[in-house]
Symmetry: C2
Amino acid sequence: MSQDTIKVLIIDDHDMVRRGLRAYLEIEDGIDVVGEATDGSEALSAVMTHQPDVIMMDLIMEKVGGIDATREVLAKFPHIKVIVLTSFYDDEKIFPALEAGATSYLLKTASAEDIVEAIYKAYKGDSVIDAKVAGKMVNRFQHKPSRHEELTSREHEVLVLIGKGKTNAEIAEELFIGIKTVKTHVSNILSKLGVSDRTQAAIYAHQHHIV
Amino acid sequence: MSQDTIKVLIIDDHDMVRRGLRAYLEIEDGIDVVGEATDGSEALSAVMTHQPDVIMMDLIMEKVGGIDATREVLAKFPHIKVIVLTSFYDDEKIFPALEAGATSYLLKTASAEDIVEAIYKAYKGDSVIDAKVAGKMVNRFQHKPSRHEELTSREHEVLVLIGKGKTNAEIAEELFIGIKTVKTHVSNILSKLGVSDRTQAAIYAHQHHIV
DNA sequence: CGTAAAATCAGACCTAAGACGGAGGCTATT
DNA sequence: AATAGCCTCCGTCTTAGGTCTGATTTTACG
């Protein structure tokens, strides 16, 4: 479409960040910031209004998060490139964002050059992944499908209750099963997660946001 | 000192945020951005170099966090006003920051006007606390000193290890004390936190980000 | 229909965890 | 000098947690 200038839409609830980003991008001849939105819920209409080529997307916003917004936008406009630009790099954010179709994943510690470069690359169809984030991705591919995905639904249910600090007796009562059965589930959970007691399982549950 | 212009130092590891902030402040006649730092470790030297009246301080930075930096700076320059400007508003950040001597606490969702106003107020000695943060403070005063602050340093240490999933034996080994002693500490921790077993204590530790 | 996985329960067994009570040494504050 | 809080440790006792082996029933799938 636009051969020379890339139309960029900024979606971020931090006014300050939008300002900073604009400052970066407005001095670039090849880039034109065509609009802004302050929440994922405004994303779709902003996209329709401004017809951007690239979206700079924050992940954590008041109403609708960036991941959902990305999914929505790409469902209707699959040609748009979404660059995630956020402060966080934990597993529970990165992978859903990429699954939702984000092209690149940058951290807000990125420099102006990094960001400008990422936009040009995204426009060409290339991806830029922050080094810290890339490290996480490597782990993901080297190892496991996040062990707890192997849990059966019942085991998952039990793990959630462990994560809430329930005792076996309480779990049994809550699930209308016997304590012996709960113990069986707990044992299976522990070995599947590769941990050695319920406390570590509870920690696992919290670190993986299963609570 | 400076009757008409307030000298402001920005400390934040997000280049973009620094840009945005500068954009806000540079159009203000009464405010002069005299310098920047990208990490808490640079804070002290930057303060000595630029002699600011007000510091805009991010909390989460690579090496030295904003809370420690605030403490350091105020120890040597108690007349400086520190405005915390961050994305987070959980208990474990807010209160330590205020205890460290921060004057105001703003979120990065704040508008230009909010920030400019906060700087003028801070310079006069007034505080500005974001509404969301203020809500947390009210809770704090209505209720409790976040139970775990009653923990002794040793107990806190033990709680951290519980939060890492260690057994009593492992904790004993790691702290060079007897298992019996660990048990005593654990018992005290449980009753102080108002929980009934180590698993709940571990969950508590994670939810309050003491890990 | 046959098979495999999931869910349920049982008994025997062992151990870590936690409660309770008591106690001595250390340090800081008054 | 004395009080108070913290850290350390001991023994005893009870129970919750966890393993292992094994078994029955239900559910799902080809």
